[in-house]
Amino acid sequence: MTTRRSTTVLRYVALVVLAALFCLPFYVIVRNAFSTNANITSAQWNWLPDQLDLTNLDSLLANDSIGILRAMFNSAVMAVLQTGGTVVVSLLAGYALARHTHRLSRFLLGLTLFTLMVPAATTFVPMFIITAQFGWIDTFRGLVVPGMFSAFATYLFRQSFLDFPTELEDASLIDGCNPWSSFWRIVVPNSRGIIAAVGTIVLIGSWNAFLWPSLVGRDATRTLQVALSQFMTSQGVRYPELFMGSLVAIVPMVFVFLFLQRYLVRGLTTSGLR
């Protein structure tokens, strides 16, 4: 019994140490966000912040070359539209692929799996050309639409629908629903878990996206990540503002995360990653 107890103690010690390591970057962001430049670049490492007020936030908000509020707005619009679009498009396709097993369906499923292997980032050059040809550079359409067709999301939805009983749908079809209304009235309300899970994954990816927004997002549609990255290498960079900006960038997602974590775990448990 003592060996079991000592392993338990060891387990907790390991967990606490690891948790502290995992929290360190967050602590550093907060420390720097509430420090003066001198505190950050001091030859002697300081664990504590030295400017626990809103000075850095004020100067961040006032700094036109970052344009943090506008960038946050752009990121939020992009993330929400892309998440909504991806979920709807993939939900429809995933459902149909799960319910139909004819040859075309199997072919399309194969195509989806194939696309899964070719990540969108690999084709950023031609995708950029296409988007430019559409005249979508520096528009929300350009930011959102090209990334809306996720094979990963479609595949996850399809896998989860395979386990979804068809009785309810069949009953609703007999009651006179067509597949469209049956889908929205019966299937979608019963799939909130997987929708929340896939939605969270897409939302995080979209909010944190960098390569594509840095190509397409310009003046009017510069996103938060792009703004931070540009500020980081710019001549006017000031560490306290940079880290305050980073803090501002992660806070919304951390809250979304803590809130949706439950669904994510459950959704991934029921999806096809088995």
């Binding site: 670049t41 139909h100 990653l273």
Partner: protein
């Protein structure tokens, strides 16, 4: 084989309406199917397959600052890239990066999942702590790693520790040594290990309790349990995790670009394929879309071959 029902209408009578009915399927099933899948596959065609096709076309032309080139150059653009030491190096960088990041993430995320599995107190808390970094962007993490942890100046975090132990500051990211790999691997590890941990936790929960109990009755414990029960049961999860890790490693761009690059320049070391392609095709004011197209085709082929090889190997393994 003869027709069982005499009432089946003769073919000639079907005409166009019959064909339409067949296309529609029973109760218009096929039509509904088309309506459901059309948005996704049309999007896939326009934004994935059309671009690949177009870059295949452009790759055979000299296409600087134009998308409707006229000068056919055959395989020149491919030859240029394949003779480009920096491009070959970038493929090696991917190999080295994947060789580190895939097994390390795999072991760490599985380890965390096992540590948390069946934990009596604080499981949700620890899970959240390990999971939250997933919400942070590569850009923000790169800022922290570049300017705090692996800052080469004396006020950098690790350099402060080294100096307090009496050592000299280390130039982590400067390329005079290979230590930049430590920064690149740890930043990605921090960001992604929580996500894969969740996948493993989900996988662990699906292992029936009886399996363990039966094994425990046989006297198995510790490593033997892990080796003979847990890992085999996690097989499907492992396959998915490794595949995702590889695909993600191949796409590496954000943290490399933000940790090593500065506007207008990127060092020759630590340059993964997508970064090199970005620099050659779209870098600065130049747009060399012919070479960009060729690069896209080469990288796409590589990753498809990779994927096919992997699923072939895994399927063979499964058959055994």
């Amino acid at each position: 084989m003869s027709t069982p029902h005499a009432t089946v209408p003769a073919r000639p009578q079907q005409g166009r309406a019959g064909l339409w009915r067949r296309l529609k399927g029973r109760q218009g099933r096929n039509l509904w199917f088309a309506a459901f899948v059309a948005p996704f596959f049309v999007g896939l065609a326009v934004f994935v397959y059309l671009p690949i096709a177009w870059s295949g076309y452009l790759s055979f032309f000299e296409a600087r600052n134009t998308v409707s080139p006229t000068r056919f150059v055959g395989w020149d653009n491919y030859a240029r890239l394949l003779n480009d030491d920096l491009f070959i190096d970038s493929l090696l960088v991917f190999v080295v990066f994947a060789a580190f990041i895939v097994p390390v993430t795999y072991v760490c995320s599985l380890g965390l999942a096992l540590l948390l599995n069946n934990l009596k107190h604080g499981q949700a808390f620890f899970r959240s702590v390990f999971f939250i970094p997933t919400a942070v962007s590569y850009v923000v993490a790169a800022i922290v790693w570049r300017f705090v942890f692996f800052n080469g100046a004396r006020f950098g975090f690790l350099n402060s520790i080294i100096r307090s132990l009496g050592g000299d500051p280390v130039n982590w990211l400067g390329g005079t040594n290979d230590l930049y790999w430590v920064a690149l691997v740890t930043v990605r590890l921090w960001l992604q290990v929580g996500f894969y941990m969740i996948l493993f936790i989900a996988g662990l929960q699906l292992i029936p309790h009886e399996t363990y109990e039966a094994a425990a009755l046989d006297g198995a414990s510790g490593w033997r349990l892990l080796r003979w029960i847990t890992l085999p049961q996690l097989r499907a999860t492992s396959v998915a995790v490794i595949m995702l890790l590889l695909i993600n490693a191949f796409q590496a761009f954000d943290e490399f670009y933000n940790m090593l690059g500065s506007i207008g320049s990127y060092p020759p070391y630590g340059r993964p394929p997508l970064v090199h392609l970005y620099i050659t095709a779209l870098g600065g004011g130049q747009q060399d879309l012919g070479v960009g197209g060729a690069g896209t085709m080469i990288l796409t082929s590589i990753i498809v071959l990779f994927g096919l090889a992997q699923s072939w190997v895994l399927n063979r393994g499964r058959d055994k």
